[in-house]
């Protein structure tokens, strides 16, 4: 199944992309997305435990994903 990884701000700069499609097996979790991302150039510059949102909601590492899910890697927020 294909999911979309979204990157923002400093993380988008580190990986040189703001959106990356990822092919994962059925039953894959948020943690599996992070493992897959580690293979990309520049990924070593991301923190090992970044904040994650799935379909615009903060999510845990063990959340199981479905095809078409939007997984965002959220840098430290700095609004206001």
């Amino acid at each position: 199944m294909t999911i979309t990884v979204l990157l923002f701000a400093s993380y988008a700069e580190k990986l040189g992309a703001s959106s990356i499609p990822l092919e994962l097996g059925q039953g894959a979790t948020v943690g599996d997305v992070l493992t897959s991302l580690q293979r990309l150039p520049g990924a070593s510059r991301l923190p090992t435990e970044p904040l994650i949102a799935v379909n615009e909601r903060y999510a845990r590492r063990d959340q199981v994903l479905a095809a078409g899910d939007e997984v965002a890697i959220i840098p430290p927020v700095a609004g206001g």
């Binding site: 923002f8 700069e13 904040l51 615009e56 903060y58 965002a72 959220i74 840098p75 927020v77 206001g80």
Partner: protein
């Protein structure tokens, strides 16, 4: 009037105050966050605000609803601006009106503190020396409190 918005134009703070006005309210509080000329000892001359816009809108709207039910008012208007801002320009404004001042203060404070913890907005600071840097969590260089934001999100999901 209860609403929140992510905008890409100047925030009209007087308009926000007018929106929450009602003869049922005895107190109106306006918080305005503006671009400051120094951060961490460096001279700043501007700021770029970016967001995960759809999530930022959703999260901001959740925070306003939480404040409404916790503090007992539906007169809350919040706007957060994106784009390039100069010194002194408003990046965020929060207007809260309530029959009594105590709850108005509490609700306003709750909204800005939760916004800074949870709403996915980032700022790129422009320094007078020509360099630029992403600001980490509330102007400091400390690590994000990711667990806290997540616990918060789960707490809200409970019936």
């Amino acid at each position: 009037m209860m609403r929140s918005a992510i905008v890409e134009r100047a925030i009209d703070v007087s308009a926000l105050v007018a929106e929450v006005a009602s003869v049922t309210n005895g107190a109106t509080l306006l918080f305005v966050g503006t671009v400051r000329e120094t951060n961490d000892g460096r001279d700043v001359n501007g700021m770029d605000y970016t967001a995960y816009r759809s999530m930022a809108e959703r999260e901001l709207s959740d925070i306003v609803r939480e404040a409404s039910s916790r503090f007992g008012t539906t007169d809350i208007v919040v706007e957060h601006r994106l784009g390039t801002l100069g010194l002194g320009e408003a990046s965020v404004a929060i207007a809260v009106a309530h029959p009594h001042r105590g709850k108005a203060y509490e609700a306003n404070r709750y909204i800005i503190e939760e916004l800074k913890k949870r709403v996915p907005i980032w700022k790129l600071e422009h320094y007078v020396d020509g360099t630029r840097e992403w600001v980490a969590a509330d102007g400091s260089k400390r690590a994000p409190d990711g667990e806290a934001a997540m616990v918060k999100a789960e707490t809200r999901a409970q019936p």
